[in-house]
């Protein structure tokens, strides 16, 4: 028999609530309740409680509800924001949200399999078939196109750019279509504690989530899809380790001079490594692109303070001028446009190898967020599973964060299905081991590569620059190797890890 209060549970409790309250909770647990609770008769006991209604959490619920084996599970969703505006998400074709992610073909295949992709507004999704990456210091470049993918390349698409809102809206519509999820939106998690031992039922290992509206729900399995500062992770006493990059990601929706050098049918993604961080320009439908510029917090603040014209000039300069020129432009209080125009005249570059010019920025889309590297020590605990950003936060330079979350969800849904069909309690750690084993090493490896790339390209001069340029040129010259990297990036590669 599991001890009533194991040392682990005591530790978990004490990390989440103060010592006094922990003691009080223990006392309460000793007082035996007399009411009988069963999953079927008690409306507040659930098989799965998911905290967080972002892409990872919603995908998990859609996956569980759409699979006949797991569709009998009783499921609740807790989300702090109201989901109503997301459900009815609608923007004119000339406007795009500034929070976009690239979805790999592997993520899209998963979204199709759970029946959510059909609700994605396809006219707002942009596939890209080529990816150009170059070194801002040495100019060495690598060009990934669909030819390198070989016969395994799916329809020649490397990835799909999509607004996060378009995805979450589609997932919500799919969940609404399937029904059977009790949605508690607009409600924050006020408290999580362990349940109590009664006469007939012992819920002392079951998490109880109290939401700001006052309702308390008990979970067989509590899923933390609640982001980088996950309350579920904190409750479980799982440490998340890592560091801040001292970098901010500046995002914006940009209007370009045209649909790109390859036209509507051959869109290209661009990424230039600058010593301050990579600047990426990813294609959206029509003549629009989305910007992700990772830079120092000071320069990010500076960029956000510029008027529209100077901001546009800085983005154009960021993809063209030398790091030395950029440093000077950043130091100017204003008037970047004239200075950049003059300097560009004296900088040689191949026009058709870099993105077309930015001509405008959509109002209200310039924003920034701090970049972090975090990895939880484990993704599972007793009656706990973490997915997405609650488990890992990655540098956005390869746009893998959301895709990693989709990979987590696919794996966790498969693990839950196995438990259900074999009569295992889906919440116990033994049942969740397969999920942790499958995802942890894979994410760790990818995150390590992303982190190393960031550090590699933060170097401004010396032998490292020469070596990394040599590396890029060498990879560019070797078709099969390039194909391998692309397949890994597209999530279609052989699982070698």
């Amino acid at each position: 028999m599991r001890p009533l209060q194991s040392p682990l549970q005591a530790r978990q409790l004490s990390e989440y609530v103060c010592n006094n309250c922990t003691r009080q909770l223990r006392r309460q647990r000793r007082r035996y309740a007399t009411t009988t609770l069963t999953t079927s008769s008690n409306p507040d006991i659930y098989d799965v409680v998911c905290v967080g209604g972002g892409p990872a959490g919603l995908s998990l619920l859609a996956a569980l509800r759409s699979n006949p084996a797991t569709s009998r599970l009783k499921i609740a969703l807790v989300e702090s924001q109201s989901l109503t505006p997301i459900r009815s998400f609608s923007l004119p074709p000339t406007q795009f949200s500034n929070r976009c992610s690239s979805l790999t073909p592997s993520s899209v295949r998963f979204l199709q399999s759970i029946g959510a992709w059909k609700f994605v507004k396809r006219e707002r999704v942009q596939a890209y078939r080529e990816m150009r990456v170059w070194d801002g210091v040495s100019g060495a470049s690598i060009d990934f196109d669909t030819a390198a993918l070989g016969p395994g390349g799916k329809d020649g698409v490397i990835a799909y750019m999509n607004e996060n809102l378009n995805l979450t809206s589609a997932l919500l519509q799919r969940i609404d279509e399937l029904g059977g999820v009790d949605v508690l939106d607009g409600q924050k998690v006020a408290d999580i504690r362990l349940g109590e031992e009664g006469e007939d039922v012992d819920l002392s290992s079951w998490p109880v989530v109290k939401v700001s509206g006052g309702r308390e729900i008990t979970a067989r399995l509590l899923v933390g899809a609640d982001g980088a500062n996950s309350p579920v992770r904190a409750f479980a006493g799982i440490q998340s380790r890592g560091w801040d990059y001292e970098r901010h990601g500046v995002v914006a929706t940009l209007k370009m001079e045209g649909p790109g050098w390859g036209g509507e049918d051959h869109k290209i993604a661009y990424q230039r490594f600058l010593p301050t961080g990579p600047i990426a320009m990813l294609p959206l439908p029509g003549s629009y692109s989305t910007l992700v510029w990772s830079t120092t917090p000071e320069l990010a603040a500076k960029l956000k303070s510029l008027n529209e014209q100077d901001f546009v000039s800085m983005v154009n300069a960021g993809l063209r001028l030398s790091p030395t020129d950029l440093k000077y432009l950043h130091s100017m209080p204003e008037g970047q446009t004239d200075e950049a125009t003059w300097r560009e005249q004296h900088t040689p570059f191949e026009t058709n190898k870099i993105p077309q010019r930015v001509v405008g920025v959509q109002e209200g889309t310039i924003a920034s967020f701090p970049l972090k590297f975090r990895h939880a020590d484990t993704y599972i605990g007793e009656r706990i599973a973490l997915v997405g950003d609650a488990a890992h936060t990655v540098h956005p330079l390869a746009g893998q964060g959301l895709n990693q979350g989709q990979g987590d969800v696919e794996s966790l849904a498969k693990t839950i299905e196995y438990s259900v069909t074999h009569g295992q309690d889906i919440g116990v750690q033994l049942s969740l081991e397969a999920y942790n084993a499958e995802r942890y090493a894979q994410n760790n490896l990818l995150m390590g590569v992303m982190d190393k790339l960031h550090k590699l390209y933060a170097v401004e001069s010396g032998p490292v620059v020469a070596l990394r340029s040599l590396g890029l040129r060498a990879v560019d010259g070797l078709g099969p190797l390039k194909g391998f990297f692309m397949k890994q990036a597209a999530g279609t590669g052989v699982k070698v890890f």
Binding site: M1, R2, T36, L37, T38, T39, S40, N42, I45, D47, R72, D200, V201, D202, L203, S204, S205, W206, R220, Y418, V420, T421, H422, G423, Q424, D425, V428, Q429, L430
Partner: protein, 291 residues
């Protein structure tokens, strides 16, 4: 676990020993209870060594990292095996309300999992050891979803009232890691047979009587390493799949024998390996004639 890192072997010695240690070897005592008491076995019928052994075991029965880990890992394969038995039927079993009788249920690893399946109506799980059954009952309280579907009884099979109608009989009678501890398996099986519905199944898992099992369970586990008390296993009682097959098919009203050998592969867990039933752990299933 150290075994995880060791190379592939038919059945890891340590793991096999663990399996044996956790097996309900007191089941053999059922026959002794039978001669003196007709009701459920009382705690006094279990010898003191057994009691202390199972008391020690009780605290770790449900610890997935403890000595029962191998049993926990094997449990899903039991369901896969039962499913494969059902799949051989020309008409599939009913989609709901299946009745299970789990004999020698121990801490309830299989009984709980069977009760959780959506097509299960009722699981009756029996064990003659009150200590072990207390563990099973306490653990079942941790899952409110089991209430009403799982019934534990401190009894031997002989202590159960004989079914008087098909409704009282069971679709699946399970004997996991039990038969190798039974002194007179043929008589025991005959008692079990009355509890199975026409068209229902007896499913079991055990170890083959081979040079390998003698080596691992008798010589090494008991005599050399001593993780299993000497005399725990009577290697002569081990039964081979061929012998089970021969017994049931000898005009006793059974058909469709199913045999699947399983091997513990360190790092991968239990795997089905064709032909391995001849050397180590295996599942055996047999279907009662539909009259």
């Amino acid at each position: 676990m150290a075994a995880i890192t060791s190379p592939l072997q038919p059945t890891s010695l340590r793991n096999l020993a663990l399996l044996l240690r956790t097996a309900p070897r007191f089941v053999q005592n059922q026959f002794r209870f039978q001669s003196t008491t007709s009701g459920p076995a009382s705690s006094s019928s279990v010898n003191p060594t057994e009691v202390s052994h199972f008391n020690a075991l009780a605290s770790t029965w449900w610890d997935p990292q403890g000595s029962s880990r191998l049993l926990h890992l094997m449990n899903p394969l039991r369901h896969d095996f039962i499913r494969s038995c059902h799949a051989t039927q020309p008409i599939p079993p009913p989609a709901a309300g299946l009745r299970y009788l789990d004999i020698g249920c121990g801490g309830g690893i299989f009984a709980e999992s069977a009760a959780r399946l959506h097509n299960t109506g009722l699981v009756t799980a029996i064990d003659p050891s009150p200590q072990v059954l207390a563990v099973a009952k306490a653990h079942a309280r941790q899952d409110p979803g089991l209430s009403g579907k799982l019934n534990y009884l401190n009894s031997s099979i002989e202590g159960l009232p004989k079914p008087t109608s098909v409704e009282e009989q069971y679709d699946v009678l399970s004997l996991f890691e039990v038969i190798e501890h039974i002194t007179h398996p043929a008589e025991f099986m005959d008692v079990c047979a009355d509890f199975v519905k026409p068209g229902g199944w007896i499913v079991m898992s055990t170890i083959a009587r081979t040079w390998l099992s003698w080596f691992t369970t008798k010589l090494v586990a008991e005599d050399i390493v001593g993780i299993v008390p000497r005399g725990t296993h009577d290697w002569d009682k081990y039964i081979n799949a061929e012998e089970l097959r021969g017994y049931f098919l000898k005009e006793r009203g059974w058909n469709s024998p199913q045999v699947v050998g399983v091997v513990y592969v360190p790092g991968l867990g239990w795997k089905q390996v064709d032909g391995s039933e001849k050397v180590g752990n295996y599942f055996f299933g047999i279907r009662k004639d539909e009259v």
